[in-house]
Symmetry: C2
Subunit: 246 residues, 2 copies
DNA sequence: TCAATAGTGTCTGTCAGACACTATGTT
DNA sequence: AACATAGTGTCTGACAGACACTATTGA
């Protein structure tokens, strides 16, 4: 072969000549409901793993998706109707055995959404439903999705210890108690009330928007808050709970 | 089409029928030398971006690599001769524009190795060399590798604030001053001596193995250490330096 | 008045920052 | 002795944990 310019090389390039892995994007969508952490799974209609429950996900649409985050957003929108949630890349898993069709790579994203806005929409999506994480124990998930769920769950827990991730699972406005409950559920352990309030309030992350009793609540009305602009990327220099980040 | 079993489906499956992105693995290999942080780049021999400097990386060998970490390890071994270093997945970047050949995805790994053991080996690798990170400013890197380098650099910095990552760039045994210098170079800022020593020693991460003057050193001989078993995954509950983790 | 929830006062312990100090080697 | 580097003593401030306490609502 003679020396080529890059243009000549590209003109002659035939991607299909090179064997390469399957590539997909999967999304672990979490929410809080009835006091438990839930994840959205879809029931597969096709081989492989027909009828098994799986994370929403699929292949990149080469003509429609600008990047892999767009693929993840598209999958999320299709299943939940939610458009601009917290969406974050977790990890990429690729090996020869995870998909019976051959060498396969998936990039796992995790999304957090408040429960209610999606509920009505969800009714019509017959092949999708929320599962409490505990319910998954006896459920056979497709592919290696059980491990993917665990990866996302672990990330969620870790980041809850030093960020304000849990803000994203709440409907606004919310009380500090509701926020604390969200932290506790994502963290999987209880927090001391005073410490929690001190930490959040001192960090100047919230805007008070009034006082009220959140739907169905009892007792003294609480101050209600919305996140202050830019607060979502706040990082604490000290970690919540004893220790044990990833 | 009639209803199939999964076996029939798999037998009839032709992966090449589905358009999908290119997939590669790239590795940002860091070390410390002459008091600066360096990264290993290779000069491309082929299109696209011939002669440009790039991160070591390439395609998955579907028959030889068990998973994507194996691909990363293989690339690292080929360029440095180092076998079992710290190797950690950083992030996956995929979009329509990063590779002129089309939609392309790469999973970025980062590796840390001590300088010396690789030096002799490196002499013979004519297409690879260490670059101080500052030198990269005026260098045109292939693809989006400049951004990938920045991603890896940022991860390195963040994790240095709450782990003992810098252990992996030192030859053993090392003094606390050397360890502190490693932390400072990866962190990009200076640390207070007493705080540093207290933090490291109280965490019980090191085994003292004697006293000596590290090669070429002056002044009072220092206690020398090696990492205690399992110390590598230690996590501090409080972050180093003012704040500013990712 | 009681149950239920919101919110506070305050002590303690841990640990990073600052910085002045002492210790031990070489030339 | 002068230097260079290793290593310490000790005060301070930030902040999480613990826990008892007070406040405000509805039934």
């Amino acid at each position: 072969m003679t020396i080529q310019t890059e243009q000549e090389y590209l003109a002659a390039y035939r991607p299909e000549h090179y064997p390469r892995p399957l590539f997909s994007v999967d999304v672990a969508i979490f929410t809080l409901h009835d006091g438990v952490l839930k994840i959205l799974l879809v029931q597969r209609a096709e081989h492989p793993f027909v009828n098994h429950w799986a994370l929403p996900g699929g292949y990149v649409d080469l003509s429609a998706d600008a990047d892999i985050a767009a693929t993840a957003r598209r999958k999320l929108l299709a299943k939940t109707g939610v458009n601009a949630p917290l969406l974050e890349q977790v990890e990429t898993v690729g090996n020869a055995t995870r998909d019976p069709r051959g060498w396969s790579v998936t990039t796992l994203y995790m999304a957090l959404i408040p429960y209610a806005p999606t509920t009505e929409f969800m009714e019509s999506v017959v092949d999708a439903r929320w599962w409490a994480l505990d319910e998954l124990e006896n459920l056979a998930l497709a592919f290696d999705h059980r491990e993917l769920v665990e990866l996302a769950r672990a990330r969620l827990k870790n980041k809850t210890a030093y960020t304000v991730l849990p803000l994203h699972v709440l409907q606004q406005p919310f009380s500090l108690s509701q926020l604390q409950q969200a932290f506790e559920l994502l963290l999987g352990s209880e927090l001391e009330k005073k410490s929690f309030r001190r930490r959040i309030l001192n960090a100047d992350l919230l805007q008070e928007v009034g006082i009220g009793i959140p739907a169905g609540g009892k007792g003294r009305p609480a101050a209600l808050y919305v996140p202050a602009p830019g607060s979502e990327q706040h990082l604490f220099v000290r970690v919540f709970g004893e220790s044990g980040v990833e």
